[in-house]
């Protein structure tokens, strides 16, 4: 996706890959499969299916992007963003057992707010795109922030449920003193938020040192000046920080409510019996 952002703009001086070259690249997947067979990892099939899926998905996305860029219709761009949002929401919630419907609504809304507002801000204020729906920028940018927002949402939700389970006794101690559910779960929420945001902080710390972001790499390979590529990348990492923080806070504060009944009683799934809780300590 990231390569596509510049392929329209700068394509002349670039080495173009042919399908034949890609076939040669697939030898690397065969190496991975061979290692899997050799070490009996049971991943050979996964690599094969994964590689085929990667090709099909990327090619399809390439064509969709090319189509959107050529046709330039605001409603089609929004539709594409919506599809990306739904796909991200499904991915973010499929690891959570139970409460799936609640979590789908919560994560979807949180990403819409977190990634949507960030994108709108960058579009209208930072980049001032003309037209505002320019798919050449909007779709790749959204792709990057939605992926990170998705991880933030999933981490916040997962960590919140494990913290609530772990801190059952603490949460009930607060409730028993007349604390609100919000107060009782404040520490669990705080830890869920830290867990959701730490990867983004770490990313900001090492970007350019340990990792070269995909988008920047793509732009450079596609012949863009590294200095220009870096400016885009800076905007992108800032967007990620904003999107992840907003998405996680919406998920954690909202999801927290589903752990309490209307009578402010704690309900955690798979409640261990009082005896086994003690034994587990």
């Amino acid at each position: 996706m990231s390569a596509a952002i510049t392929s329209a703009a700068v394509s002349n001086a670039v080495l173009t890959l042919r399908w034949y070259d890609l076939a040669l690249a697939s030898a690397l997947v065969l190496v991975a499969m061979a290692i899997s067979v050799w070490q009996r990892l049971g991943l050979a099939r996964g690599f094969a299916v994964g590689a085929i899926r990667a090709v099909v998905q990327l090619v399809a996305v390439g064509y969709v992007l090319a189509f959107l860029i050529s046709i330039q219709r605001w409603y089609l761009v929004l539709l594409a963003l919506l599809v990306m949002l739904i796909a991200a929401t499904l991915t973010a919630t499929d690891r959570q057992k139970g409460r799936r419907a609640t979590l789908f609504v919560i994560s979807g809304t949180a990403m819409l707010v977190g990634a949507g507002l960030t994108l709108a801000y960058v579009d209208a204020v930072v980049m001032r795109l003309h037209p505002w729906y320019d798919p050449q920028y909007l779709i790749p940018l959204f792709g990057m922030i939605i992926g990170n927002a998705m991880n933030g949402a999933a981490l916040a939700a997962e960590r919140l449920s494990s913290e609530m389970e772990l801190r059952r006794a603490e949460v009930e101690s607060y409730l028993a003193l007349g604390a609100s559910p919000k107060r009782a779960s404040a520490e669990a929420v705080r830890r869920a938020l830290v867990a959701a945001m730490i990867p983004t902080v770490n990313m900001l710390m090492v970007v350019g040192l340990v990792s070269l972001p995909g988008m920047m790499t793509g732009q450079v390979i596609a012949g863009q000046s590294p200095i220009t590529a870096v400016r885009y990348q800076i905007v992108v990492v800032f967007m990620l920080a904003g999107a992840v923080a907003v998405t996680s806070v919406v998920v954690a504060l909202w999801y927290q409510r589903s752990f309490f009944t209307s009578a402010e009683q704690l309900v955690v799934r798979s409640i261990p019996s009082p005896r086994s809780t003690i034994a587990a300590r």
Binding site: A169, E170, Y174, A176, L177, A263, Q265
Partner: protein
């Protein structure tokens, strides 16, 4: 004191998944008394007292507090009037004093209005048998017995009318347990508290309580004045458990 019981349970049933934790419970807990709930493990003792400050709700039946259906009382107010001390106390971050202050500060605004009547932390520590010097100690660093006392003092910071205790001494040495029991008896007298205490130590129940409730397999088998229960119980099952020690 008064004819209205502190708690009154009628036809209370509770199921958790496939387990029927409470069956057809009818029980009055008299006001201002110390009531012991005894019975074998899994009898439903914890399940029962958790209903009294709405940490849980029954599946069926009614629970009344001072004559009002418990759901008609605002739940946070109820929980500050009916304090709960857990079997394994959780100390919040900070010092002992922080723990007590937190409990007091959780008061809703309405309760704040009668702030002059708010309990004093030093006084509550003393009542719970904690040396006032402990106020500045890190709560996490306390021993089991100290934690239990601090958690009692912390519960008292809500100015409760009733105190629920779930096996407060089960994790403690016998002499520490005896001290805590003596504390509970003093508290009940000085503060006119209704105390409902779950215990598996029969001599504890007999020494401290005025009323005893015997539970088994989710049912109340028998309840009444402690001395009568221990000397002349009606049900054969009660006699086996209380008098012959099973």
């Amino acid at each position: 004191m008064n004819d209205v019981p502190a708690f009154c349970l009628r036809q209370v049933e509770q199921s958790r998944g496939d387990v029927r934790t409470l069956r057809a419970i009818n029980l009055d807990i008299p006001m201002g008394e110390v009531v012991a709930i005894v019975g074998p493990s899994g009898a439903g003792k914890t399940s029962l007292i958790r209903l009294l400050n709405r940490l849980d709700d029954p599946s069926q039946g009614t629970v009344m507090y001072l004559g009002s259906p418990i759901e008609s009382i605002h739940v946070r107010q109820l929980r500050r009037r009916v304090a709960f001390v857990f079997q394994t106390p959780v100390m919040f971050a900070g010092t002992v004093a922080d723990n007590l202050a937190l409990a007091r500060d959780l008061a809703p605004p309405a309760e704040d209005a009668r702030a002059t009547a708010m309990p004093d932390a030093g006084e509550m520590l003393r009542l719970a048998g904690v040396d006032p010097e402990f106020a500045s100690r890190d709560a996490q660093s306390l021993s089991g017995g100290e934690r239990q006392r601090v958690s009692i003092a912390r519960a008292l910071m809500t100015s409760p009318d009733a105190l629920l205790l779930d096996e407060p001494t089960s994790a403690l040495d016998p002499d520490v347990a005896d001290h805590i029991m003596a504390t509970i008896r003093t508290l009940a007298e000085r503060m006119h508290l209704t105390v409902v205490m779950v215990t598996h130590r029969l001599e504890e129940a007999r020494a401290v309580s005025s009323h005893t409730v015997f539970m088994e397999a989710g049912s109340v088998i028998e309840s009444g004045p402690t001395e009568a229960m221990f000397t002349a119980p009606n049900a054969a099952r009660t006699r086996d458990y209380l008098v012959r020690g099973k």
